[in-house]
């Protein structure tokens, strides 16, 4: 609240100073610095796009209404609103940069936003008041105005950051820690992160006074500039939104890998294997190999539901690292020698197929990842700490990428278990023209015994050590063993029951995704016949279907929760009424193609569906 008042007061002062003092200045070039604009943009960099847009709109409206007034009310509200939003959107770029260049980058971004806003303002003036502002005037005045704004940018930005830092660093005011104006939302986690930081970071923080921008201005020692958007995370260096989860039981389709379409995939029976034998493993889509890549089944654009009846088999554990039921067509996966289970009680440093980076390229170097026996590791284990290690996909995020981690337990010899925190692309088509959208889900390591994939009706879950706070605080975490059956955080989103599920005994919907597919060809988006014997042979919970893997529709699951996960709007099983627009020639001419894209949004799979419907081959 204090910070909000400070913001309002500073903007009001800037507004009055702008109108009474700065606009009256007679500077060479004809322009005057636009203090209000620069201040709005700088505050938006600290506060985010929404707050920036709202602030910019309000201040711009005040500038329109304040006595000399603009020709058209709303003219500066429009410009400043856009400027605030743009600055808020661009500020994470600065926070994700390396440490010492972050300030420079932030200043540069601010200058960029200010210059662009001046240009937009000139354009709006030209449009709204064509007689007062002519093109020749704009050509004369605009460069000098931008120049004065650029001079103002570093000053204003450092003042904003100084104010935010000082406000957040009041010695007794842990309640106000964290955010310049984010209120109490991020207060508690930020305080937690602040108290749990390492001694080294604390020492570093004491030694140097740092200016910080954004939500974590109060967390010292994390860098010159941090605009983490996640409350409670100390810096912008940990961009994880959801914590990686380790699923030792493997067999859950796409187990620990952060799959894009996790919610939409059907659950699969889970085998708990303590030995290495894989005899009864079902295979999904092995038969698909007969068709080969590029066979008629794999033509893009074919409806997956139409492809039922192939010779595929259901194999939940095979193929992909990550234990998913996704199917590979690469014979190299078969050439892996059988693995030997092993139990090791010592932490191994290099034992990190956990979090091993799998390439998502078409060449599948991921399959060359070393196969690894099952290990049980006790004790703090640094090398295993690459759980969640593969998060760095954007610009460099130094530090904190590999926090120390506690023991992990793995059951089930499962090579692909290492895809914890891993992003595999499991888009449905991945055709050559499709752009895969990689939306990683990072999760803390959570060991599960037989957890349902969707999380609902999960069995007892073993959590060892790696708590979420342990990751975020980057502190050494004492391993703790808890047996809980708490609902999974994902359980709010329903365990996906696909819409296209056909409830026959013999047919079982495969995932509409195909996993890593070389060449980017749609392979397994189909219905596959289910083998006769798919009942898990070993169950921890006495055969309850929802217990250990299971069908996902077990008795414990019940109906899906109220807030179900989003389903693709163009579903596979039924035709959308809008598809008329996209499939018929007349409809396409009427703009149905655009409509389809607009309607399905930009998510990859759905986008592709819409796109394909709009443009059949």
């Amino acid at each position: 609240m204090r910070a909000a008042w400070l913001i309002v007061m500073s903007l009001a002062v800037a507004l009055v100073v702008q109108l009474t003092l700065l606009n009256g200045l007679h500077l060479p070039g004809g322009g005057v610095p636009d203090l209000v604009l620069v201040l709005v943009a700088a505050l938006a960099m600290a506060e985010g796009p929404v707050a920036g847009a709202v602030t910019g709109f309000a201040v711009g409206l005040c500038l329109d209404l304040a006595p000399p007034g603009s020709a058209a009310i709303g003219q500066y509200a429009l410009v400043f609103c856009l400027a605030g939003w743009a600055a808020g959107r661009l500020s994470p770029v600065a926070s994700h940069s390396t440490r010492y260049s972050a300030g420079l980058l932030a200043t540069g971004l601010l200058a960029l936003v200010a210059a662009a806003a001046e240009v937009v303002s000139a354009v709006v003036s030209l449009l709204v008041t064509p007689r007062a502002a002519t093109l020749s005037q704009v050509r004369v005045v605009l460069p000098s105005t931008i120049g004065y704004d650029l001079l103002l940018c570093p000053l204003v930005l450092s003042l904003v950051m100084l104010a935010g830092t000082l406000l957040a660093e009041r010695p007794a005011g842990d309640r106000f820690r964290g955010v310049l104006a984010a209120g109490s939302r991020g207060a508690a986690p930020a305080a937690l992160a602040g108290t749990a930081r390492s001694p080294r970071a604390a020492r570093r923080a004491r030694r140097r006074f740092e200016l910080r921008l954004g939500q974590h201005a109060g967390v010292t020692g994390d860098g010159w500039l941090s605009t983490s958007r996640v409350p409670g995370r100390p810096t912008g260096h940990v961009p994880a939104r959801r914590a990686p989860r380790l699923r030792p039981g493997s067999g859950v389709p796409g187990s620990a890998s952060g799959l894009v379409f996790e919610r939409h995939r059907p659950a699969a029976p889970v085998h708990l294997r303590l030995a290495g034998g894989r005899r009864g493993d079902g295979v999904i889509g092995t038969g698909g190999l007969a068709g080969g890549i590029g066979s008629s089944r794999n033509l893009p654009g074919r409806h997956p539901g139409l492809l039922a009846g192939g010779a595929s088999q259901f194999r939940p554990h095979r193929g992909e690292p990550g234990g998913s039921s996704s199917v590979t067509r690469i014979p190299v996966t078969r050439t892996h020698p059988p693995r030997r289970p092993a139990v090791s009680f010592t932490g191994r440093r290099g034992d990190g197929s956990v979090g091993h980076t799998l390439s998502r390229g078409p060449t599948r170097p991921a399959l060359t990842a070393p196969r690894r026996p099952a290990t049980i590791r006790f004790g703090p284990h640094r090398g295993g700490g690459s759980v969640g290690h593969t998060l760095s996909r954007g610009p460099a995020r130094p530090a904190l990428t590999a926090p120390r981690r506690s023991a992990t337990i793995r059951f089930g010899p499962h090579r692909g278990d290492g895809s914890v925190g891993q992003t595999l692309y499991h888009g449905p088509t991945r055709s050559a023209t499709a752009r895969p959208r990689l939306t990683p889900r990072r999760r803390p390591a959570v060991i599960r015994f037989g957890g349902q994939r969707g999380g609902a009706a999960a069995g007892p879950r073993l959590r060892m050590g790696a708590r979420r706070s342990g990751i975020t605080a980057a502190a050494t975490v004492v391993p703790s063993l808890t047996f809980t059956s708490r609902p999974s955080p994902v359980s709010r989103h329903s365990a996906a029951v696909p819409r296209f599920g056909r409830k026959t005994a013999l047919l079982r919907p495969a995932r509409p995704t195909s996993g890593l597919v070389p060449g980017g060809v749609l392979t397994e988006a189909t219905f596959h016949p289910r083998p006769r014997r798919t009942t898990p042979r070993l169950r921890l919970s006495g055969g309850a279907p929802g217990m250990l893997g299971g069908t996902g529709r077990g008795p414990r699951l019940g109906s899906p929760p109220g807030r179900a996960g989003k389903q693709p709007r163009f579903s596979y099983g039924r035709r959308s009424p809008l598809s008329v627009l996209t499939s018929h020639r007349l409809g396409r001419r009427l703009g149905g193609r655009w409509l389809a894209r607009w309607r399905v949004g930009s998510r990859s799979a759905v986008w592709l569906v819409g796109r394909r419907m709009g443009d059949p081959r």
């Binding site: 009001a12 009474t20 929404v50 000399p68 603009s70 058209a72 502002a133 984010a182």
Partner: protein, 315 residues
């Protein structure tokens, strides 16, 4: 405060705000005398005008070292009542000079003015200023604003305590003028914002028979009921003739008398003159003549210790 993670909501918020801004622009663009936005503007003028008045008085306090700012208000009343001599002790030097020359202009015209100070300047490409007099002082929309040098502009909006003036050098201002010696009519358009602040106006004559010469002086021409500009206020002087191919009438560049980038004390004409003063208020032409320099040389002697060899320039 406001969540920043939800970019979808952020987009919604942005779209709503942009739409509102566009609607506002459209509404205010549709009609300037719109009854919807007029009270909003008036109310906000009262609010912000107070702040601007306070801020500019603070600024004037610092810029003019004290005594002037507190006495300007008293001076204005005195100006209205006496319209006569002002003692130099009551006013700061700059204000005194400005007021005095303005009163000369006004006195030559026999008009009634109210003195005002510029308290705010428009943003961007708007060439407007805010004065600290409003409807409570008798200011109405359409009245002429002048200062000691000549025409400043006209009042475009009035609230209780403030008024907005569109400067005469704005690109959207058109001034009907009469050329001083001949009385031929034409109009002058402002240059708008320029790099050095002192733009050159453009004169366009009405009559094709008009003959212009550099050095001709312009005053505001006669207009119906003295709006937007009362007649007889000096505007500027012709500096250069412009020949446009194919043009029927003559055009010229005009250097305005008023320095629009350094306005301080201005006067709003409350009562226009009863008769057209014609060219009574035109400042005297600068007389081109040889500059006489008188040099006083101190005699070398013990008798005159105070005199020092100082060259003084005389007109």
């Amino acid at each position: 405060m406001i969540g920043v993670r939800d970019t979808r909501r952020a987009r919604v918020v942005l779209a709503v705000l942009v739409a509102v801004a566009l609607v506002l622009i459209a509404v205010s663009y549709a009609g300037t005398g719109n009854s919807v936005l007029r009270p909003v503007r008036t109310a906000s003028s009262d609010v912000f005008g107070g702040a601007e008045r306070a801020a500019s008085s603070v600024g004037r306090f610092f810029s003019r070292s004290g005594s002037a700012s507190s006495q300007v208000a008293g001076l204005q009343k005195e100006v209205l009542q006496l319209r006569a001599e002002l003692s130099q002790e009551q006013v700061s030097k700059s204000d005194y000079a400005a007021l005095r020359t303005m009163l000369l202009v006004a006195g030559a015209d026999q008009v009634k003015v109210v003195a005002a100070s510029v308290i705010a300047v428009g943003q961007g490409y708007q060439q407007t200023v805010t004065l600290d007099v409003g409807s409570s002082d008798g200011v109405r929309v359409g009245q002429t604003v002048l200062n000691g040098q000549g025409l400043v502009g006209d009042v475009t909006a009035v609230s209780g305590d403030t008024s907005t003036v569109l400067l005469a050098d704005a690109g959207s201002a058109v001034i009907g003028v009469a050329v001083a010696p001949s009385g031929q009519l034409g109009w002058v358009t402002g240059p708008g914002k320029t790099a050095d602040g002192s733009g050159v106006m453009r004169l366009q004559m009405l009559s094709s028979a008009a003959v212009l010469a550099p050095g001709d002086q312009l005053v505001t021409g006669p207009s119906a009921s003295g709006q937007p500009y009362i007649p007889g206020v000096p505007v500027g002087v012709i500096t250069k003739l412009i020949s446009v191919n194919g043009a029927l009438t003559e055009a010229a560049d005009v250097r305005p008398y008023v320095d629009y980038s350094a306005l301080s004390v201005v006067g709003v004409v409350l009562v226009p003159p009863a008769t057209n003063p014609a060219f009574a208020a035109v400042p005297p032409l600068p007389h081109p003549g040889p500059t006489v320099t008188v040099t006083v040389t101190a005699r070398p002697g013990p008798a005159a210790p105070g005199a020092s060899p100082t060259p003084t320039a005389g007109p």
